[in-house]
Amino acid sequence: MKGRNGLLIGGGILFAILLIATVLLSVERFVPPRRAAESAPPAAVETATATAHITATLFYMAPDGRTLVPVRREVPLATLAEALGAQILTELFAPAPPPYVSVIPKGTTLRAFYITNRGDAFVDLSPEVTTAHPGGTLAELLTVYAIVNAVTVNLPSVQRVQILVDGKEVDTIAGHVDVRRPLARNASLVKGT
């Protein structure tokens, strides 16, 4: 009886190994070569130390004062999109590196960041984004789209971004721009596009 059980378990393991090998081989065959090459570096970085960084595009006030300018910045690497998104936003909310000017109200912090299966990201901000906002349609547009663009440009899996304040849905953050629903990237506010 015992011998029979061992045979069964052994057979089961062998079958499982064969199944996994088949799946892996077929996946290899169906993945286009370009994608396979792309997926190699992140796998390598996964084991890298905590000091690993990647270059992300953040948005600050353009010299004309009316638009956003894309700026390449190093942010700590994270493998999961949600963790990487949080790193990018934390960097965006930090004081801007000279000569750039931040369009995010002082004191604003990220409470939470998550991504739904539909490709919508939720950015939950501390109340300072509203209370410390200077007001005005232009300043509000710049704040909203610096956040929306930073997330959608750097995280290809995210199509739209919904802003929450203190964990709750709000109409606007400063009285003008509708943020009740997820917003898509706005390229017209970015200088040089």
Binding site: G65, G136, L138, H176, V177, R180
Partner: protein
């Protein structure tokens, strides 16, 4: 027999396989109608990734264009008589004569087929085409050439007797009715019609449907009709034809002049149109001015005052000026320093049946160097854009006192602005021009943004950012009477010109 069954099974299997292998779902949507001098023809729309798009090969065939694809570069060109426009896959812009024209949705390439939103015809193709192309998305019409296509709405006001049917034509033009056996033919002096007809009938009217000719509508009647009386009127820039139909054998209402047959009082079920009682209503008669922010919501801050105080002061002055000079009825959304939410502002404007809406604000920027005046109107998001086609369709019948039903149009609160976008854009341009002339003389840009306030407004609506409180020079200026007077004079000029323009287009 067995062989036949085998063949059928195989065929079905192959078909299922083919269907499964087809590129991403392309679902046919309700077609658009192309109206030309020669008549009407359907233009198929396809739902691709939830966007309603037109196939460019169909468009190329209809408009005699050459579609050339650069497969490697993911781009394509459309040419017409030596003029060319360039498209790129997944781009919401098209290059026309070297200029970028933006579209409400990106161009889509699926296999060898290219798709673009219907607005492409008006904004991108029209500039290189030698005929006018007009797109009316809500009515699903594409109009080629200078054709007169007024909007014709029919409704059964009362089943009667007499059955009362009202036709409204905007912009107003000649409308007549003639009886032809068991039907009434309504003829409009136009090339084609944009129709909004009730679904069912009522009283002696079985059905109201489009006529055989492009400019007629037919009322099918239930059995014989004794008499018909049709009265045309024009009010509020709408031509109206009220048709009263009596069942077979009844005395014609016109003979009511004779003392023997006193005219019966109007049936109580006929709703009274306030516009008829109050007389013709001028365009731009009711103007809604919205001083931004208020109460705890201070808005932008400056040393000379806060946004909420300054805009209220300007709004009060503007109200007086518009009432005095234009004889208009001016409604303010707030008269004092109190907080009101977006819904209340929209409700005040909509319930007062405003003809235009101006929200007054002061701007702020992260840099003190930024200055100037800006005029905004709504940039709809994708959901709103899609819903535009649905807005006109939602008509429901409600019971009226005394029996019968009256169709009323239901507009979703958040989509109310969708059908006014074009006119809002014109109003914004006029205000920008007038303000630039009256204030600094510097060009005042018209911008579009997804503004929360404007979405629920069922009238042409704009938001004016008068100056930057974050700019030291402008901050000082806004406190002065000179600045406030220049702004209200500029707004007055724009409103006056807007009224004239609307009158002209309606009476043309």
């Amino acid at each position: 027999m067995g062989r036949l069954r085998g063949t059928v099974t195989l065929t079905v299997a192959v078909l299922v396989l083919l269907l499964a292998l087809l590129p991403q779902a392309q679902v046919p949507a309700t077609p658009f109608t192309l109206i030309t001098r020669d008549g009407r023809r359907p233009v198929t729309a396809t739902l691709v990734n939830n966007q309603e798009l037109l196939a460019l090969d169909d468009i190329a065939m209809l408009f005699q264009l050459a579609l050339r694809e650069d497969a490697g570069a993911g781009s394509a060109t459309l040419s017409y008589r030596g003029r060319t426009l360039g498209l790129a896959a997944n781009q919401p812009t098209v290059s026309v004569n070297g200029r970028a024209v933006s579209l409400p949705a990106p161009v889509v390439q699926q296999g060898r087929r290219w798709f673009a939103p219907v607005e492409f015809l008006q904004s991108a193709l029209a500039p290189i085409y030698d005929q006018r192309i007009q797109v009316r998305r809500t009515a699903r019409l594409i109009i080629l050439g200078d054709l007169r296509v007024p909007r014709v709405t029919a409704r059964i006001d009362s089943p009667g007797p007499p059955t009362r049917v009202t036709f409204e034509v905007a912009p107003p033009t000649g409308i007549t009715a003639s009886q032809d056996g068991s039907r009434v033919v309504v003829r409009v002096d136009a090339d084609a019609l944009e129709l909004a007809l009730p679904v069912g009938g009522g009283g002696v009217v079985q059905q109201i449907r489009p006529g055989e000719q492009g400019n007629t509508v037919v009322l099918s009647l239930d059995g014989g009709v004794g008499s018909m009386r049709a009265v045309p009127t024009t009010a509020n820039n709408v031509a109206r034809l009220t048709i009263d139909l009596q069942g077979g054998g009844a005395a014609p209402p016109d003979s009511a002049d004779t003392p023997a047959a006193p005219r019966p009082p109007s049936p109580p079920s006929t709703p009274v149109d306030l516009a008829d009682v109050l007389g013709p209503r001028k365009t731009g008669q009711t103007i809604v001015i919205d001083p931004g922010h208020g109460g705890a919501d201070i808005g932008a801050r400056g040393r000379a005052g806060t946004e909420k105080q300054i805009v209220l002061d300007v709004a009060r002055r503007l109200k007086t000026l518009l009432e005095m000079r234009l004889g208009a009825r001016v409604v303010l959304t707030r008269m004092d320093d109190k907080a009101i939410d977006f819904e209340t502002r929209a409700a005040i404007a909509n319930q007062n049946r405003g003809d235009l809406f101006i929200s007054l604000h002061l701007n702020a920027a992260p840099s003190p160097d930024v200055s100037g005046t800006e005029v905004y109107y709504l940039q709809p998001d994708r959901d709103l854009e899609l819903a535009r086609s649905e807005v006109a369709k939602t008509t429901v019948a409600v019971s009226v006192a005394g029996g019968g039903a009256r169709p009323i149009e239901i507009v979703q609160w958040d989509l109310a602005q969708a059908r006014h976008l074009e006119v809002s854009g014109r109003l914004a341009a006029l205000i920008a021009e007038s303000l630039a002339a009256r204030t600094s003389g510097a060009p005042t840009p018209v911008r579009r943004a997804p503004l929360r306030l404007l979405k629920g407004l069922n009238m042409p609506a704009v938001l004016v950012e008068m100056a930057y409180l974050t700019n030291p020079a402008q901050e000082k200026a806004v406190a002065s009477d000179d600045f406030k007077n220049a702004v209200i004079e500029g707004l007055h000029d724009a409103v006056a010109r807007f009224r004239t323009q609307i009158e002209e287009t309606r009476t043309r």
